[in-house]
């Protein structure tokens, strides 16, 4: 008789809720008549994300002490729960952004995959050993590969899908090989066991560390592992891009933080330096490349690279303040990303073509709400006060300074200054070159239908962006409670 382990269903409940939603959506693709399919699928997926978020909140509340479960394959702690809340929120917003898209085919499958990807990420951040880590990663990655390519009508979408698939698999392959080597060096899979088993200077072990770091950096799209990001973000359907930008990065960074601090504390000198270098590279490359972009989605993609750099600074800080900073940073960052891509989607649906800076001309005056919202997101990305982006950056800098990375602070400051050019470039395009005739001419079919879901999504994003500044205190307290589970020396 096999002793089946007891499963903590409560801790798994957010994942399960989303999986259930995913399944229902999938069924709806077959069972629900085409007319109602979008409504049913979207509502179910949205409900799934919301439920998952609520459940994650409950788990957060109930998990004052961290617990490892089922041979360390799963962790129940506040770090994971908080990340799950963020991810679920991002997913729910992504559903709202998706609602208005003119998708005709595969609606049920779309929402199903979205929910599945979300479930994968939720599980991913709970991962407690190398195997669940890898499997969680592949779970959401595969769902995302499909989502990227789902607009099979569009070449760009297919190109994005294939690029993501191939480069992504390449990255996963490296991560897997690294995991294998780590396993080989220690004989253990669980993060905590790895920490206990390790000999500090084991060559296989550090090789494994290097490769896993590379694999995770790939998912977080940190330079120089970022090169897929702009292409995929640009080509993928905009709601998917929004979801990826917000959620993938959040999941990958949280797991990076957990893996590095839990499993590799003895190598911290090594990986903090490496992460710092990655951070600097991301900041430099992301910001510089973004400067040269005309396509807004592509520009935002590079901006997400630079933000990965910022958040990596928090990881490189390797202290509780850093973890707190990262977790806090993710909240406004996720909201701003989804909001910004949501606004891009609005313009895209209005014009029927890709959104470039030129095509944003006059947008701010035509659509005051979206314009003002975009303004808020851009300011938030640039780290202006009155947005959570500012507090996030501030905390990142504080964390870096506390661990002596003062030059990272300087680099971060200069990079932010650089980034202003293109963030404000968006505002410039929207407000300061009003109504070029060209942009109006290509508006497809007159005034676009009112899209309440998108407006709600953008509105919520604005609220979170600004709210996370005003209520920075309580949110930072939550982040601190989550950060406490990590074993910082």
């Amino acid at each position: 008789m096999i002793d089946t382990p007891s499963v903590d269903w409560f801790a798994l409940s957010p994942v399960l809720a989303l999986l259930g939603a995913s399944a229902v959506c999938l069924l709806s693709a077959v069972l629900v008549p085409a007319l109602a399919r979008r409504t049913v699928a979207a509502v179910v997926a949205g409900a799934g994300f919301v439920t998952a978020g609520v459940l994650a909140c409950l788990v957060f509340d109930a998990s004052a002490d961290a617990e490892l479960q089922i041979a360390e394959s799963m962790t129940r702690d506040r770090l994971a729960a908080l990340a799950q809340v963020i991810l679920a929120g991002a997913g729910a917003l992504a559903v709202l952004v998706s609602w208005g898209s003119k998708r005709r085919s595969h609606v049920g499958e779309y929402y199903s995959l979205l929910a599945a990807a979300g479930a994968g990420m939720l599980f991913f951040v709970q991962a407690g050993n190398l195997m669940t880590l890898f499997l969680g990663l592949e779970w959401f990655s595969i769902a995302l590969y499909v989502l990227c390519a789902l607009d099979t009508e569009r070449e760009g979408s297919l190109e994005a899908g294939l690029k993501y698939l191939i480069v992504g698999s390449f990255g996963s392959g490296i991560l897997l090989f690294g995991a294998a080597l780590t396993y080989g060096a220690t004989g253990e899979l669980g993060f905590n066991q790895i920490r206990e088993a390790t000999g500090a200077s084991d060559p296989l072990f550090v090789t494994g560390l290097a490769m896993m770091l590379a694999g995770l950096a790939f998912k977080a799209s940190a330079a120089p592992f970022h090169m897929w990001t702009p292409d995929v973000y640009q080509g993928a359907p905009t709601p998917v891009t929004a979801f990826m930008a917000a959620a993938t990065k959040a999941a990958a960074l949280v797991v990076t933080l957990r893996l590095l601090t839990v499993a590799f504390p003895e190598q911290e000198a090594m990986w903090t330096a490496a992460v710092a270098v990655l951070a600097v590279a991301s900041l430099a490359i992301g910001n510089l490349a973004a400067l040269a972009q005309r396509d807004v989605k592509r520009m935002l993609a590079y901006s997400s690279v630079s933000h990965a750099g910022f958040m990596l600074i928090a990881i490189a800080a390797d202290n509780e303040l850093g973890a707190q900073a990262l977790l806090y940073y993710l909240i406004p960052y996720a909201a701003m990303s989804i909001g910004a891509f949501g606004v891009v989607a609005a313009r895209e649906r209005e014009l029927g073509v890709d959104v470039t800076l030129e095509r944003l001309e006059g947008f701010g005056w035509e659509r005051p709400f979206f314009g003002a919202a975009m303004w808020v997101f851009m300011l938030g990305f640039a780290g202006f006060p009155l947005t959570g982006g500012f507090l996030g950056k501030f905390y990142v800098f504080a964390a870096a300074f506390e661990s002596g990375w003062w030059w990272l602070v300087i680099v971060g400051a200069l990079a932010t200054a650089l980034s202003l050019y293109y963030y404000l470039g968006v505002v410039r395009a929207m407000y300061m070159r009003p109504g070029a005739a060209g942009a109006r001419a290509i508006v497809a079919g007159g005034s676009p239908p009112f899209d309440p879901a998108l407006a709600v999504a953008v509105g919520v994003s604005v609220a979170v962006t600004i709210g996370s500044f005003v209520f920075g205190g309580p949110l930072l307290d939550l982040a601190q409670e989550a950060a406490e589970v990590l074993p910082f020396s």
Binding site: I174, P203, P224, M227, M270, L288
Partner: protein
Amino acid sequence: MIAGAWLCLLAPLVGAVALTLLGTAVPRRLAAYLATLSVFVGFGGAVVSFFSMWARDPDDRSELSTAYTWLAAGDFDVGVQILVDPLSIVMMLVVSGVGGLIVAYSIGYMDGDDEERRYFAYMALFVFSMLLLVQGGNLLLLLVGWGLVGLASYLLIGFWHERPQAVAAAKKAFVMNAVGDATMALAFFVIIWQSGSLGFEESFAAADGWSTTTVNLVALGLLGGAVAKSAQLPLHTWLPDAMEGPTPVSALIHAATMVTAGVYLIVRTHPIFEAAPDVQHLAAILGAATLIVAGLVALVQTDVKRVIAYSTMSQIGYMFLAAGIGAYTFAIFHLMTHAFFKALLFMAAGIVIHQLAGEQDMRRMGGLAKRMPKTHVAFLVGTLALIGIPPLSGFWSKDPIIASALATGGGLGWALYVAALVGALLTGLYAFRAYWLVFRGEPSELVREHTGEHAHREDRVVTLGLGVPVAILTVLAAVGGLVEIPGVWDPFSVWLEVVAEPLVHPSTLQDYGTSAIAVALGTLGIYVARRTVSAGRELVPWPDAHRTLEHKFWFDELYDALFYRPAAALAVRLRTDVETPLIEGGLTEVGQTTSEAASAVARVQTGLLRTYALAIAASVVVLVVVFVAVR
């Protein structure tokens, strides 16, 4: 007494403010009367102060009255305060009295001008500022008055703002005065630094303890201000140009009052100058140099107002000479008489100019003596007083100065003495040349045109009110010097001595001897001038010398080349060589470099899948190698 002094100070201010605020709400005439009234009320206040002061014991003739704290910082504070003492009362009387006459004269002179109201507001502002200057109870307030008279001078020189020369002259006057303000301010900084106060008493008391360098610096700064304001070498070039303003302005500001402020300053701050004798002597030397240079230049000027302007410089040179050798009472005495006769000269010239429809070139005048007899008398009295012919006022005030130079003795004293005597000769030459050109000889075309069939116009001038002030000043210029007769009585000196005890006291012999020589030289000058001019010749027949004098010793050209053009060129060079390429261009360059770097980074993003994988693979290799190496 204090109330009178305050009234004297504030009445013109009220007039100025009221005129500015009321604007076109008051009729033009009323505006003129208001301004005149305000100045005469001030004069009344001054008279009241004078008599109440007269009644006091000589040792008690000084009172400081503070209204409120004007400026304060930490331990440093400066009040709005006035100092009433014999010196300031003399100045108040001269300023408000002569000022009142000139403002009254302006009623007629400016009649019909478009912007009369503005003119009178400015005039009242000027009188207020000048009174503030002389009444100010501390150095800072003195500087405030100092600056404000400069401002009023600027406003009034440029009153006819559509004339480019007037505007340029106004700017020049202001900027040169600003140089003086700046050096004075620097002197004050030193005083604050050393004594922490700008009160007269405190800073003078502190001056004794200062090092030679310090006190020299302070005195030099003050002298700079005095020189600029009084148009002495080397900051004198603005004064002739300032004649672009209306003639009463020239009479009031650039003859009677403002330009003599430098003399007042030296007398007022004499303890500092006495602590720095070298600088004080420098003042005397500058005065002597100015009186000769100005006298020489005046020999060849053709503009009647410019001749008078140079004569003003020259006369102030006497005053500086006096102040520089410590003959303070004579300096102030000459200041007062000079105010009378110089204002008179200007006003008489103004009538002539008015009569000739604005013509100021003496070569186009002549023969006015018969056609404008009253004006002629006034002008003649002024001229003789200026030359120092007894018993007119200039005689009583100028000769003691020359005698004091003699009494000073030493090489310096003799040099100054000779210079002053040469000045007396020059005065006779240029003054009588002007008189002769304007009033004697045959009437020119212009004169006939403007006075021939309208011979009654002088009467009209009189009816306009120009005559009364001129008449009063004529009397004053004639008898104003009798308040001090060497060897007979000296109430004026006694009155002032409590403020500034003179350093030299010429003997009666020196006085009378000098007077004889000076009068002889003056008469010689008159004679030569008459001979030469009536023969139609120039006083300076040598072409090179004549040209040098015409160009006023090339001071303007020199300053233009030394200061203005380098400054303007520097400003332009800074813009073209620093601001545009470096400061602004630097930003552009940073921007360009960044955008080049940006496109370079973007080019790496080829869109080729395999390069992405290669980047990943290469980075992994680097990571692994480094990790294994440093583990």
